[in-house]
Amino acid sequence: MASSTSVVVIGGGSTGTGIARDLTMRGLDVTLVERGTLTDGTTGRMHGLLHSGGRYAVSDQKSARECIEENRVLRDIASHCVEETGGLFAKLPDDGEDYFEEKLQGCRDCDIPAEVLSGDEARKLEPFLSEDVEKAIYVPDGAVDPFRLCVANAADAQERGARIETHAEVTDLLVEDDEVVGVEVRHESGPGTHTHGTSGTTEELRADYVVNAAGAWTGEIGAMAGLDVEVRPSKGVMTIMNVRQVDTVVNRCRPKGDADIVVPHETTAILGTTDEEVSDPDDYPEEQWEVDLVIDELAKLLPILREARTIRSFWGVRPLYEPPDVASEDPTDITRDFFLLDHAERDGLDGLTTIVGGKFTTYRMMAETVADHVCEKFGVRASCATADVPLPGSDDFDVLRDYMDEFGLRSPIGRRSVQRLGSRADEVLTTDEPNPVVCECEAVTRAELRDAIDDSGSDLNAVRLRTRASMGNCQGGFCCHRMANELAPDYDEPVAREALDDLYQERWKGQRHALWGQQLSQAMLNHALHATTMNRDGDPARTGEAVAFDAFDGGSPDGD
């Protein structure tokens, strides 16, 4: 199979989908390929912080200024993905007074609104803050849902004519006469929405230009054309609590360090993080010390965390990059800035640009830079509009409407659904069919799941990212199988079974790092439900071993 397009974008994270949206808005023909689901790389594995820039106000003021600028843009164009929580930089007795003053001054230098609160004022805002907190700086940090934002970018690009292919791994760059002329892609289950159990195909996708936006994996893509892209992946752990201990982002006010931030995210709070360079972004140890460190360190700021319930931990890999001549030893010293590498200028290879480094908050700005660059190559003069045109879901969004009656949903289910869907709520929730709640922890209804399945096929992990179903306290123990049931009648039983197995295993992966206290009890309950009540582990359809049915009890002689 072969096909062609103007631009191939490699990578379905925030940067890749942002580039796809920007280029399609400027009238270009774009195909985006992603080896897993959207957000599968680093985007889906971040702490959900919408930076105010305060974090970089001392160490990296260029990044800080970009952050506050994009922070304002995203509140506007992605209102249904952003929660305006505000943020604190809290000072403990061990944290230097000089640094506190530098941070405050840095914020002011970078045009980041900053206000000093006394310890008591900070505790009034966040009652679980330690009595030891002496004072804090209040900044406009926010919480952002990276899944929703990334999917909204992809959806908008698709709406405008882009082709978005997930589960499509780039297996080679096509190079002819010192020019990249396309990519070879392996579709895990053929092109289009994902269907488990469908056999894979390969496709030669010829293009006038290729953008490598594979994040921590840009080095691997570059290597396919013999290029050396010096990405330095760095892992960090994030530990999810089962409730929001804070409604404001809480940072520790000290220079770079591990375990210094808590971000409220939907119904949870996310603790982060660590910073350790890894050699392979697909294969690195997920270690106990990292989980214990974030809990123990952050308990100094918020003592309640020491005994609180965590539901899982996950790791992300930062796509850090620095020019090879800098040679930082410690990954925390590597800049958070982004770099556009035009391989024609850099390596004498036409047709390919790599975008690397940067951070989620500035994804749109990175995408704009890349799109400007590509448009210049093509002589296209359209200007960037992504800072002004709202994303699908964020246009004309009136949160005050009473959706409860309108969609026959009980509050707060209706409220939660509408928060997730934004202005798409009408389109998704209007149905004549019964609309039961499928995931009780996160209050996700059938209509939302069916909408997500229409979008992402039988990949229930992609459905999960779009809806939050299975992401609450029970970690899918009570709803994975219900979600799989929603695949009928569009998909056959073997597809639903495999999709369920994939989702259940993915949910287990993160829970392994939270197996004590109530979450261990929950894990045992899930095990009992899936192994005892459903006998999924002994399922003859799974084991493939024939059962001698006639050897078993067929009922009592006097039974009916």
Partner: protein
């Protein structure tokens, strides 16, 4: 002065109830205290004894044969050779006509909501016509607006599991419920209360029948009178009718809980629910009293013999923090790997160490300290608080509760009689 009994059972699940009744039948005065409502209502209502061997082999046809070969330290081995038969006999006596399976030593294979089959030893009478070994064409019926059971997937899955009969599926809307009301307990209540609902349900199912001799519904066929509901539906449909056990909230689990609570009352066991044991007093050898929290007041309870039946990780009988695993009532030793990252396997259905967490016991079912000596001579343990077996993987949870509950309860009561004779 403390409240005094011969035997005090801590924990109100299947093991605690069995221990209490076994003790009472030996003539002891027995009190049962439990911290919460039991987890019986979460369970399917099936009485699994042993469906798979510890190495995963199965499904096991004859669990009694297989139990005899279990390794030392398995709760069945600790309970002794007759405990399972004795415990099941007690259960059969209590359950009467409501349960089936006692006519044979063989396991039955029961269809699950997901379309697998599960080996079990005793099953509600409402489940019997659906057994997978019966070669009868089957129609599975689900209800619109529900999420736990998708009959089309279950039917195809049963076929993939190799069942020896044809299976078809239909989905109907349940009569007289609104979308907000579509819950298992609501369906069960309507079927109990209103014969008209049964008729209307049968009318909706009838057009889907294509000669099948049996019709399976999710287990919602009445909480109070499932036999009457089933008979009405069967007559109207001209086919036998059966239930497929579901996850929580489980109507068969609720029925079993009610049945066992009635039995406790009949046997003269005093039951106190919602009162957790928060402390205890002991000499080096014996538990003297326990302290029960009764709406914030600390009340001492004394007994000659104690049975610990507080459940496993789900029931709260075994707890863990980031450093260690413990038994919270009497602080009995719970063996576990020191490294928390050895408590689990990476495969979701792997051989998890945590699934086997619980106290080790001697052949008298008395919990053992880390050095292998008994913790207290008058304390026995039963049910999921026992370690050494993955009840979920083996499908052995109910059987272990019956066997160890029976053995612990009876031994507590006979020990007591011996003590009194000595005095």
């Amino acid at each position: 002065m403390a409240i005094e009994d011969d035997v005090l059972v801590v924990g109100g699940g299947l093991a605690g109830i069995t221990a209490a009744i076994a003790g009472a039948r030996e003539g002891a005065t027995v009190r049962l205290v439990s911290a919460t409502k039991s987890t019986l209502r979460q369970a399917s209502g099936l009485i699994d004894v042993l469906g798979y061997l510890p190495d995963g082999t199965g499904p096991v046809v004859d669990p009694f044969d297989a139990v005899a070969d279990l390794p030392e330290g398995h709760p069945y081995e600790r309970a002794g050779p007759d405990a399972l038969a004795d415990g099941l006999a007690l259960f059969d006596d209590l359950a009467g006509d409501h349960y089936r399976g006692s006519h044979t030593d063989r396991n039955a294979l029961v269809p699950t909501t997901g379309g697998t089959v599960k080996p079990t030893a005793r099953y509600p009478a409402t489940v019997e016509p659906g057994l997978a070994s019966r070669e009868e064409a089957t129609l599975l019926v689900g209800f619109e607006g529900t999420t736990d059971f998708e009959p089309s997937l279950a039917a195809t899955h049963l076929d993939a599991a190799g069942v020896p009969f044809e299976v078809r599926a239909a989905t109907v809307s349940f009569p007289d419920v609104t979308a907000e009301d579509a819950t298992a307990t609501r369906f069960a209540h309507l079927l109990d209360e209103d014969p008209g609902v049964r008729d209307r349900l049968a009318e909706r199912v009838k057009p889907h029948l294509a000669g099948e001799s049996r019709v399976g519904f999710p287990a919602v066929l009445g909480q109070e009178g499932p036999e009457s509901v089933r008979t009405s539906l069967a007559e109207a449909l001209g086919a036998s009718v059966f239930e497929i056990p579901t996850g929580p909230p489980s109507v068969p689990g609720l029925r079993l809980e009610n049945l066992l609570h009635d039995a406790l009352a009949d046997e003269g066991v005093r039951v106190e629910q919602g009162n957790p044991v928060v402390d205890f007093d002991a000499t080096e050898d014996r538990v003297e009293t326990v302290t029960v929290d009764r709406v914030g007041n600390r009340v001492p309870y004394a007994a000659d013999q104690y049975v610990l039946a507080t459940g496993g990780l789900v029931g709260g009988g075994v707890e863990a923090d980031r450093e260690q695993v413990s038994e919270p009532v009497f602080d009995c030793h719970v063996p576990h790997p020191a490294d928390r990252y050895e408590w689990f396997e990476d495969d979701a259905f792997g051989e998890h160490a945590f699934a086997r967490f619980g106290v080790d016991v001697d052949a008298q079912l008395r919990p053992l300290a880390a050095d292998g000596t008994t913790e207290y001579e008058n304390l026995r343990a039963a049910g999921a608080v026992l370690g050494g077996a993955d009840f979920a993987a083996e499908k052995s949870g109910s059987g272990v509760s019956l066997a160890t509950g029976f053995a612990a309860g009876r031994r507590a009561a006979t020990e007591l009689i011996h003590t009194e004779l000595r005095q």
